[in-house]
Symmetry: D2
Subunit: 135 residues, 4 copies
C-alpha cells in the first residue's frame, strides 16, 4: 500500500506528526481487510456490526518522513488468537524501514462492545493471508 506524505501530515518541524502514522495504520488495516483478505471492511462494520477496537498500539519511529515522500506500508499477521489478533505494520521508503508498529485488535460486537470469536470466514481468510506471506 502506497501512501503519499502530504503537507497536512507534517508539523512545524517539517516532518510527519507521529499520530498521523497511527491513522495511516488504521487505513492500512481497512485496506488489508478489503484488498488483502477480500472481506469488505465497511460491510463488516456497518452490516455485520463487527468492530475492531485497538487495545494496544505501539510504534518505533526510526527515520522521519517529509512531504513529497511516499511510504510503502506492509501488514504482517503476527498472532491470530480466538478473538484477537496482532498485526505488524512496517513503513518503508526506497527500501529503507522508516517505522515499524504493532496493533493488537479485539474482534468486538458493536451492539454490546463484548469481545466475540473471530468469525470463521474471516479466520480462514487470515490464515490464507498468513500462509501466503510465509511462502
Amino acid at each position: 500500500m502506497q501512501r503519499p506524505i502530504r503537507f497536512s501530515h507534517c508539523d512545524p518541524a517539517g516532518i510527519v506528526y507521529f499520530p498521523v502514522y497511527f491513522d495511516m495504520f488504521n487505513g492500512a488495516v481497512e485496506d488489508w481487510f478489503t484488498q488483502g483478505l477480500d472481506i469488505d471492511y465497511a460491510t463488516m462494520i456497518l452490516q455485520r456490526r463487527l468492530g475492531l477496537p485497538i487495545v494496544h498500539a505501539e510504534c518505533d519511529f526510526v527515520i522521519p518522513s517529509r512531504m513529497g515522500d511516499t511510504l510503502t506500508l506492509g501488514v504482517l499477521l503476527e498472532r491470530l488468537g480466538r478473538s484477537s489478533l496482532q498485526l505488524r505494520i512496517n513503513g518503508e521508503h526506497e527500501g529503507q524501514v522508516r517505522l515499524s508498529g504493532s496493533l493488537t485488535v479485539v474482534t468486538t460486537s458493536l451492539d454490546d462492545f463484548a469481545a466475540v470469536p473471530i468469525p470463521d470466514d474471516i479466520r480462514e481468510a487470515m490464515k490464507r493471508y498468513q500462509a501466503g506471506c510465509e511462502s
Copy 2:
C-alpha cells in the same frame, strides 16, 4: 490536565478513535512543559529551535471513552537520559484508568535534526518535577 471528549474525537462506533489519544498525548507534553516545567513550549520550539521528536510511542487502551466524558491526563517522567526522556501518560475518568501510554522523546536540534543533550535549565526543571511527583 482535563480533556473533554468531543464529537470529533469519536468514530462511527461512538468511541474515541485511538490515534486521537496520541494527539492528546502530544498536547499533554506541551502543557507539561509550559505549566509543569514552566518552560514555554512554543518558545522552545520556535526560538531555541529545540525539537522533541517521538522515537517510540505505545499505549494500552483499557476502557473506551465516549463523547461527553472528561479525561484527566497525568504525566510521569519515567526516565531522564542524556538526550532522551521517557514519559508515561495516564488517562483517567472518575478514578478509573482508561488508558496508559508511553512516549520516548529525543531532544533534537531543529536545524540539523541531530540529537542534542537536554539543556541544563530543562534538565533541572525535569528533576524538580520528578522530585515533586515522588514526594
Copy 3:
C-alpha cells in the same frame, strides 16, 4: 471560549492548517450548546438522537495564527429558522480578528437523517442567548 494554538494545529509553514479551524468551530458549537444554551450536547446527540449536520461552512482567514497564540472564539446566532440555524464564529487574538466563519446547521433526526423542527426547549434557549447577545 479560549483555544490554545498547539504544535499539532500547525503545518510545515508554521501556521494553523485551515481545516483545523473548522474542527475548532465544531468544538465551539459543542461548547455553545453545553455552556451557552445549557443543553448538554452529548445527551442531545446520543440520547435525543438529534444531529446537527453542517450543510454550509465558510470562513475568511484574515491573519494566520501560530503555535503559542491563544484564540478567543465567539459564537453569534445569525439566523434561527424552523429546522436550521446559522452561526457566525469569530476568532480573535488580543482584540484582533484573525478569522471569521459561518456554519449553517440543520437539525436532523439521527434515526432517518431527515430534517426535524428545532425542538421547543432548544429554540427557547437559542432565543434567550440571542437576546442576551443583543442587549
Copy 4:
C-alpha cells in the same frame, strides 16, 4: 482524483465529519499541482519557498457520504489573479454531486509571508489547465 471514505473520516453519526472534506480539498490541491499542472508541490513549498495559504474557504455539503463510498474530486480553476487564485472543488459519487466547495489561495513567500505574483511557469501551467478544461 479518487478518495475512499474511511472509518476515520466518519463521526459518531456515521457520516464524514465536515472538516475532513477541507483536508481532502488541500490534498486535492496538492495532487492538482503535481499531476494536473506538472509542478511538484513539495518542491514548490520546500525549495522554492512558495506557500499557498487559504484566505477563504467554503463548501456546500449536499449529500452526506459514508464509510465505503468513494468520492471523485474534481478541480476547476475559477479565477486566476495576479497573486491569488480561486479553485472550485466538487466531490461526486456515482455521478451525483455530494459537495461543492471553493478555496481562495494567495501565493505567498514562505520567508516573509508577503503575497507574491504567481510565478510565470506556474501561471502558464494554470492557463494550459484552464484551456484544457474548457475545451
